[in-house]
Every structure is written in structure tokens, then in C-alpha cells.
């Protein structure tokens, strides 16, 4: 869509899949073990879904979100109802993709998108848990988790978004390593923010 249309869709899919798998493995084996205050850890999978959606639009966003969520549902230590993350990340990917198409000129978009995505994702995941009567999603726990989760996600977002942009850009434009080689205004805006 907004990216180079001549890039082969297969390559893009492969890159997206690699991004998701790497994010997932890093999530369970590194990020979740970090002894961060509050006991909450940044959700790298959510962040990479948001980043992929920002770069590639709503279609890729919701497919990537669904696949990432399904993988997060079945990756070994998981112990919740299968499909919960698939549903949540699918919605997040779609919404972020649409949002990116609507307002890509403003440089703060990635951060608002990440914050909104983190908020929406955590709340939606907890809400589904409540609907299903999951005792882990009790009100006291969710009320503590959501603000911290959003904070950590926003803090971690520049790194993840930057990594995803690097990965996707490297594939799309193998011949041009110029750092201002598009995804146009969006990339410039994001990299401008991430350097702050």
C-alpha cells in the first residue's frame, strides 16, 4: 500500500513472519523475565504488530496481528483460552493500519498509535478474560496492570518500531541504503521521533 508496491508480497510476508517470531521469542525468553518494577513487562509482540500495521496498512496489520496473536496463544508457557490474543491483536493491527492511513503527516502519530494500541490491547485482552470468567483478569489485577503496561509499551516502542522499520525497509529497498529512502513521510516522521 503505502510502501513500495513493487516489493514482492512474498518477501514482505516472510519479513513480517520473521519479525513476529523474533518478537515472540524475545518476549517470552527475555522481556518477560525482566525484573521490572510492578511486575509488568512491555509487550513486544503488540508493539511489532502496531509497527507492522503502521508501515504496511490495515490488511497486513490485521493478518499479521491474527498470526502473531495465534502464535502467542500457543507458545509454550501460555495457559489461557486459545484465540484471545489472536482476536485482540487482529483488531489492533487493523485499527492501527487504518489510523496510519488517515493521518500520516503528523510526527507524533507513531507514539499515539503505540500508546492507544497498548491501551486498547491490554484492556481488550482483560475484557475478554472477564467475559470468559478468567480469575486472573480480576478487577484489582487489571487496574494495576493497564497503566504500567501502557507506560512500558510506550517506553519500549521507539526501539521496536525502529527495528521493524529497519527490517521491512531493508527488504523493500535493497539497492538504496540512504536513510531517507521512503516509506516517505511516515518513515521520516518516525525516525525523527525515535532519535529524540
Amino acid at each position: 500500500m503505502l510502501n513500495a508496491p513493487e516489493a514482492s508480497p512474498n518477501g514482505r510476508r516472510v519479513i513480517s513472519a520473521i519479525v513476529i517470531v523474533v518478537a515472540l521469542v524475545l518476549q517470552v525468553s527475555v522481556a518477560n523475565r525482566l525484573p521490572l518494577p510492578g511486575g509488568v513487562t512491555p509487550d513486544l509482540v503488540l508493539l511489532s504488530v502496531v509497527a507492522l500495521a503502521l508501515v504496511s496498512g490495515s490488511l497486513t496489520g490485521c493478518v499479521a496481528g491474527f498470526c502473531a496473536g495465534l502464535a502467542a496463544d500457543i507458545v509454550p508457557p501460555s495457559d489461557h483460552t486459545i484465540g484471545r490474543y489472536a482476536l485482540v491483536y487482529c483488531i489492533i493491527g487493523y485499527v492501527c493500519g487504518v489510523a496510519a492511513a488517515e493521518m500520516d503527516r503528523q510526527s507524533m502519530v507513531p507514539f499515539f498509535a503505540v500508546a492507544a494500541g497498548a491501551l486498547l490491547g491490554t484492556v481488550a485482552y482483560a475484557a475478554i478474560g472477564m467475559l470468559l470468567g478468567d480469575p486472573r483478569a480480576s478487577w484489582t489485577i487489571v487496574a494495576r496492570v493497564v497503566p504500567l503496561q501502557v507506560l512500558y509499551d510506550v517506553v519500549a516502542s521507539p526501539f521496536v518500531v525502529w527495528c521493524v522499520l529497519r527490517a521491512t525497509r531493508r527488504y523493500d529497498r535493497p539497492e538504496r541504503r540512504d536513510r531517507f529512502s521512503v516509506p516517505a513521510a511516515r518513515y521520516r516522521a518516525m525516525s525523527g521521533r525515535t532519535r529524540l
Partner: protein, 328 residues
């Protein structure tokens, strides 16, 4: 426009699929057909996690070793200035020593209780709200579901799912975890429940809640808990230390009294754990509990002086440790 319509269609289809999966999995419970997917996940991601853990662990351990002890950090900084390679070697040996010491203590605890164990490393930690970990030992090592998992310090949790080379452990701090427990040197039994991932449910230092079944039974701050043992020794074998009573809630008209328990295990920094593959022949009672008094005596109103409690604890511990036979 065409593209938005297409992506909307795809979104709708995927949402329907996700909702269908949630429904099927939720209705099916433990027998749901989608549990096969977890098996696939275990087979696919298990080896990946093992590999990534073997890459990540030395780094993480080194970071741990530094952050845990400021002295170590200063030393590492000094060495960093001196020689990069020397520092790496030093960290490597420290990690190995720490690991072997952990294993030694683990074997000591297992020997004390007469448990037969398989040692394993934690390789990944669950996401979201659940408090689960993956360990790098699976059915190939003789691990089955509903086996007790302990560390050198005490109870960790139980095995909920087993893959070929990995297994998933539900930690005792998870909200869904319920463990039968017994107060040390008394027969008063109760239920230990988790309070949520890393004490998120307002836990803090006390991520476990203990409910004494007999509301009139004596219970005091500083008393320690061991597992009661389940029927057939699964999922929980008897005698594994759980934690220490930190605070007791005044009975607010309830039929049971609630105590908040500080576990012996540090759930945020789990590394070497052991799966009990064969239960002890006889209930070890309080034999596996660590030497009685720990520094957290001050808040206890029941133990007047810190020097009084060790004798009391030891005096009561010895007879039960030497005569474990009448239990079964």
C-alpha cells in the same frame, strides 16, 4: 477503496475465526480439540526457546549477578576497564559457580525430603496475566503432567503441560493455583492460593494467600508452611516448604482466617528448578524447612525475642524429622 473493503473482509473473517477458536477452546476446556495446537506450539517453539535461552541465559545471569550485588558491579566495572576478555571469563565462572551452588542446594533439599528429582532450567516466562514458565525438560526426561516443581528454597508450582523437550509450569502465585498446605509443627491445614502474576493483585512481598480451614486454630506471624500433599502425591508431594506467614487478617465475619504468606522462593528470579518425578516414601514433615528463624521476625508479636524462636523451632522440628514413618 477496494483495498479497504478487502481488508475489512479479511478482518471480519479473522475475527470470526478468533471468536470461534475462543468459543471452542473455552467450551471444550481441557479436552478441547484446539489443545492440539498447543502441542504444535510446544513442538515448534520449544526448541526455539531452548536455543534462545541458551544464548540469553549467560547474558541474563551476568546482568543478574551484577544488579543483585553492588559489590559485584563495582568489581565488574574495575575489570571492565582492565580487560574485556578477562571480565567475560570472570562472569562465566561466576555463573557456573552460582549454578553449581544452586544445584547443590537443590540436591540437598531433595535428599532431605527423599524426593527423586529432575533438575531443569527456566527458559521462558508467560505473557499477559498468567504466571507460568517453561522449563527445558519434557517427557523425554520422564516428566508428566501434575508433577510438583520445587527449587532449593521451596515450592515453585506444578507441571500443567508436557512437550517432548519442554514443559509448562503453573507457578504457585498464579490465581488459578491452589495448594493444600499445613502449618509447621501442627496439624492445622489450609489452602494456599496465588494472588496473581508477580503479586499484581496487591501482593507485593506476599503473593500467596493462606486460608486456615479451622477458624479457631492457632496461627501466628512467622509460622512457616509446608505442602500437605495431594491424594496419590499428585500434583503436590508432601513436605515441600511453601513460605512464611507475614500478616494475618482479622476475621471479618468469615468462616476462615486469611494469612498472607511470603514464599521462600523468589518467583521473579527463577532459574534452576527441580521436578519431583517420584514422591518420597514417607511424608518428610518439616524436615525440608530451612533452619528456623529468618530475619523477618520483627513484625511478629508472638515471638518476643529473636533468640527464643530458633530453639523453639528446632526443638519441635527434630522429633518430627526423625520419626516420619507413622504418616502413611
Amino acid at each position: 477503496m477496494n483495498d479497504t473493503r478487502r481488508s475489512r473482509m479479511v478482518l471480519a473473517a479473522l475475527l470470526v475465526v478468533a471468536l470461534a477458536m475462543i468459543t471452542i477452546d473455552y467450551r471444550g476446556g481441557d479436552d478441547s480439540p484446539l489443545r492440539g495446537l498447543r502441542g504444535v506450539g510446544e513442538a515448534v517453539f520449544g526448541p526455539v526457546e531452548r536455543a534462545s535461552a541458551s544464548v540469553v541465559r549467560p547474558v541474563g545471569n551476568a546482568v543478574d549477578a551484577i544488579t543483585n550485588a553492588p559489590a559485584e558491579r563495582r568489581r565488574a566495572d574495575r575489570l571492565q576497564r582492565e580487560n574485556q576478555r578477562l571480565r567475560d571469563q570472570l562472569r562465566g565462572t561466576q555463573v557456573d559457580q552460582g549454578k553449581s551452588a544452586q544445584l547443590d542446594r537443590l540436591l540437598g533439599a531433595a535428599g532431605l525430603g527423599g524426593y527423586k528429582i529432575v533438575a531443569a532450567n527456566v527458559i521462558s516466562v508467560g505473557q499477559g496475566l498468567e504466571d507460568t514458565v517453561t522449563i527445558d525438560a519434557g517427557s523425554g526426561s520422564g516428566i508428566r503432567t501434575d508433577m510438583t516443581v520445587m527449587s532449593a528454597d521451596g515450592l515453585v508450582g506444578r507441571v500443567t503441560r508436557v512437550g517432548p523437550a519442554t514443559a509448562t509450569v503453573l507457578l504457585a502465585t498464579d490465581v488459578n493455583s491452589t495448594v493444600g498446605a499445613r502449618l509447621e509443627d501442627s496439624k492445622e491445614i489450609g489452602i494456599v492460593q496465588g494472588r496473581g502474576r508477580r503479586g499484581l493483585g496487591g501482593g507485593g512481598r506476599t503473593p500467596l494467600r493462606f486460608q486456615l480451614l479451622d477458624a479457631n486454630a492457632p496461627m501466628r506471624v512467622g509460622q512457616r508452611l509446608v505442602t500437605l500433599g495431594s491424594q496419590g502425591e499428585r500434583p503436590y508431594v508432601p513436605g515441600v516448604p511453601v513460605g512464611m506467614v507475614e500478616r494475618i487478617d482479622a476475621p471479618a465475619g468469615g468462616l476462615t482466617r486469611t494469612a498472607y504468606v511470603q514464599p521462600f522462593v523468589h518467583f521473579t528470579s527463577l532459574d534452576v528448578v527441580a521436578v519431583v518425578v517420584a514422591p518420597p516414601k514417607s511424608d518428610p514433615r518439616d524436615a525440608v524447612l530451612p533452619p528456623s528463624p529468618t530475619p523477618s521476625a520483627p513484625p511478629s508479636p508472638a515471638s518476643p525475642s529473636p533468640s527464643a524462636s530458633p530453639h523453639k523451632g528446632k526443638g519441635k522440628k527434630e522429633p518430627s524429622a526423625t520419626s516420619p514413618s507413622p504418616s502413611h
